[in-house]
Symmetry: C2
């Protein structure tokens, strides 16, 4: 920058003004400086500038796994709003690992990100309190903050699961298997609650044999379903409350030749769900909307919004494609 100033015959501060597109610099000087910048291949050092100005133009996004379609879609939405501010996004995957979350949060705070989008792996977030007090802006996504107060954008999992289950009940199903993720995961637990509530609303009792949680992968879902169906009175419908598990369930039904006999509803849409045979009925969470909301809230905070933290609930939507509309066998 010194060299640029010298070549352009102006002061350091003037170069700084031009580079930062500040107003109040005369056009000829802007031109002169710009020319010098190009001639010298000068690259403004954003890091150095941050040191004094206290804003990095970076937001952090700590997601579950950027390679799964939910996290990836979220990231894309965040990126789109960040870009409008000429901000940039630092991402990492947590893989449900508690230690990783704490370490990455520490790292991002150390890098002085202007804000943080967090889809937490931990269940207790009080460790964030000092940073929050120090001015860190955080928006939780998909999972609720515990032990601290901050904004969140959540899917209404209870309602989504309730709707899915009610949909199956409405078609006459009475034996509905719930295949779910680890019950310790908050969203999974809420879906279980929604399932139970729908049964209760229909005046039914919960049959513990029809609840199989702890399914994380499509393989686990597939095997779990095969196990359950190897019984004298198998279910007539399946609610698979995680997308990978729904895929496993679909695969298992295919293997059993029951794709068109057993109803199946999944939670969380994914590409190609409509191309399966039958098309997979799912509860869809609008990732684009969730990401945009989270980013908008984060930027409102960055812009100085000091209203009380809010919990934003995004309603999921039941998308009928065929698999969920199969009636119980006569």
């Amino acid at each position: 920058m010194r060299d640029v100033a010298a070549l352009a015959g102006v002061s350091l501060k003037t170069v700084s003004r031009v580079v930062n597109r500040e107003p109040n610099v005369s056009a000829p000087i802007v031109a002169k400086v710009t020319r010098a910048v190009e001639r010298l291949n000068y690259r403004h050092n954003v890091g150095a500038s941050n040191l004094r100005s206290r804003r990095t133009g970076v937001i952090g996004a700590l997601l579950q796994d950027v390679s799964n379609s939910f996290s990836a879609g979220l990231l894309r939405a965040l990126e789109d709003v960040a870009r409008q501010r000429r901000h940039v996004v630092l991402t990492a995957s947590l893989d449900e690992e508690v230690e990783r979350e704490r370490q990455l949060v520490g790292d991002l705070v150390g890098r002085r990100v202007d804000g943080l989008i967090l889809m937490p792996a931990t269940r207790d977030h009080s460790y964030l309190a000092p940073d929050l007090r120090a001015g860190l802006r955080v928006v939780f996504v998909d999972r609720e903050p515990h032990g601290i107060v901050t904004d969140s954008v959540l899917v209404d999992n209870v309602t989504g699961a309730f709707d899915a289950t009610r949909h199956l009940l409405g078609q006459g199903h009475r034996r509905i298997l719930h295949l779910g993720d680890l019950d310790t995961i908050e969203t999974a637990h809420q879906r279980q609650l929604g399932y139970e509530a729908a049964l209760r609303a229909a005046g039914m009792r919960l049959d513990p044999d029809l609840v199989v949680t702890g399914q994380r992968t499509s393989e686990m879902g597939e095997e779990a379903l095969l196990r359950v169906f190897d019984s004298p009175s198998p279910p007539t419908a399946v609610f698979a409350s995680r997308n990978t598990v729904a895929i496993g369930a679909a695969r298992a039904l295919r293997r059993l030749g029951l794709s068109h006999q057993i109803a199946l509803v999944g939670f969380d849409d994914f590409p190609l769900a409509d191309l399966l045979e039958p098309g997979l009925t799912v509860v869809r969470q609008d990732v684009g909307l969730i990401g945009r909301m989270a980013a908008d809230i984060l930027y409102a905070r960055i812009d100085g919004d000091t209203s009380p933290a809010e919990r934003h609930l995004v309603p999921p939507k039941l998308v009928l494609r065929g698999s969920g509309e199969i009636p119980p066998r006569a």
Copy 2:
């Protein structure tokens, strides 16, 4: 940091040493400093440290679209190797937009990333030459660098398309439709070349009516296929050289009721391709491997490897699942 030093009763430099886990600090002092850090909720300012040390611990990843499974998988692989170094990844999507690429490269260079992974939208990369000369390390992924010399990790698209086409020919198909992306996109062009080469190798002539390029989305692929099949002598097989297009083609065949009559091979695998009916035969590119290779090469350069830039070709693999093994109609 000054406060920490004061509280611990040591010098600034000693705190710096402890925070950076440098050797040659006595255990009791480390403990004292660590305690002071915790008491004060001190957060090491990585940005300030970078200013002096000239390394940011950040790599940039400019990909096509982080929400598609190819880019997302790549990003995940990059992240995994970066994490082993306690580095972090700055990502953005280019969406084939030339201007965006240049702007983001400029931004990331300004942020002094230690290295850059680039899946370019541009076709001329000479604009990078000054930065390269200034020491920027760049590894190209999926597309070749033009106008500069730097490392790249590419999929052997010609061979992949050749194999796919030969596979169809081997089953007796003679009228094979090639549905491809914009021919101006390098990878798409190479796939067209592979298709042509396979026909030539089988002693066949290229029928221009059987080449439909410019298909970008699944909708376009679907319509294009419907158009082609609305003819007196439709093809008996389809090679869809882009994953979204293959999905559109599968959807179109489904609509025509020809899923089991017409052979279909796609390029680039995606989740659930095996669950379609019939399972979709594809040419698979190993994203995990590509990402790991690119990151390893980038870090080798960062570590000072000055050997000549190399072009690494990853062979794609034909994955048979049924749709590509349908024989031509008698």
